[in-house]
């Protein structure tokens, strides 16, 4: 006889990656995060990573629109973004070493928290940021949900871990 709460927690077992992917995720995530920050600070135009790549859709100013063709373009943002997303997905959606109901509960609560915080900030941005900076907001918004989730989840775990360390 399976209890309903166990169904909810077995469902997480099916959806999450094995624990070893967490470490791989961090290895991808941290360099791509640093690279992304570098691109933000120094500008994408100043990092010359050009290559031919396949584009489903490419619309550029003063150029022909290209559909389903190979284009030659600066792919630094592409690399930083894709690696960051991949890394954060691996980190955020892989199991902890010991999976139990508290961890499952914490994971869901952290996701809820992250979505809420992200959209409150985004609403604020919609209301008070205009013009060119708004484009930056849109770009950062791609990544902030995952960041907030990972930070929140690991922060609570760390805080608990520290507390447990002081007890017998």
């Amino acid at each position: 006889m399976l209890y309903i709460h166990q169904n909810f927690y077995f469902m997480q077992n099916k959806l999450l990656l094995p624990h070893k992917w967490k470490r791989i995720g961090w290895i991808i995530l941290i360099p791509s995060f640093v690279f992304g920050l570098y691109l933000i600070i120094f500008g994408i135009e100043n990092v010359h990573l050009n290559a031919r790549t396949f584009a489903i859709l490419d619309i550029e100013i003063l150029k022909d629109t290209k559909i389903f063709s190979f284009i030659s373009t600066n792919i630094s943002a592409t690399i930083a973004g894709s690696l960051f997303i991949t890394g954060s997905l691996l980190v955020g959606f892989s199991k902890e070493k010991v999976e139990d109901e508290f961890i499952s509960n914490l994971r869901l609560t952290s996701l809820l928290w992250a979505v809420l915080v992200n959209y409150i900030l985004l609403l604020f941005a919609f209301l008070f940021i205009y013009g060119l900076p708004f484009f930056d907001v849109m770009v950062y918004n791609c990544f902030t949900i995952l960041i907030f989730f990972i930070v929140r989840f690991n922060y609570v775990l760390y805080r608990n871990f520290k507390k447990a360390g002081r007890e017998k």
Binding site: Y3, H5, Q6, E96, K97, V98, D100, E101, F102, I103, N105, L157, N160, F161, K163, A164, E167, K168
Partner: protein, 77 residues
């Protein structure tokens, strides 16, 4: 009762720490016995997490007591 209050307090008290001390079990040992993480035991004892029925039953089983001897409903209003 405001929304914030509900968020903060689970309405269950427990004397898990006392029971653990009586049986001379560390958090780690208890965690291993019922296959959960040590963090879970700590979170339960600090009142930050209310365990599921199954987990509460398993915990009570370890100490040979009834669930209500270890987990008590807090009287509200």
């Amino acid at each position: 009762m405001s929304y914030i209050e509900i968020l903060k307090k689970p309405d269950v008290k427990n004397n898990l720490r006392v029971e653990r001390a009586i049986s001379n079990l560390t958090q780690e040992e208890l965690a291993k016995k019922i296959s959960v993480s040590r963090q879970t035991i700590n979170a339960i004892e600090s009142g930050k997490y209310v365990p599921s029925t199954v987990l509460a039953l398993k915990i009570a089983n370890v100490f040979g007591k009834h669930v209500e001897d270890i987990f008590m409903l807090e009287k509200k209003d």
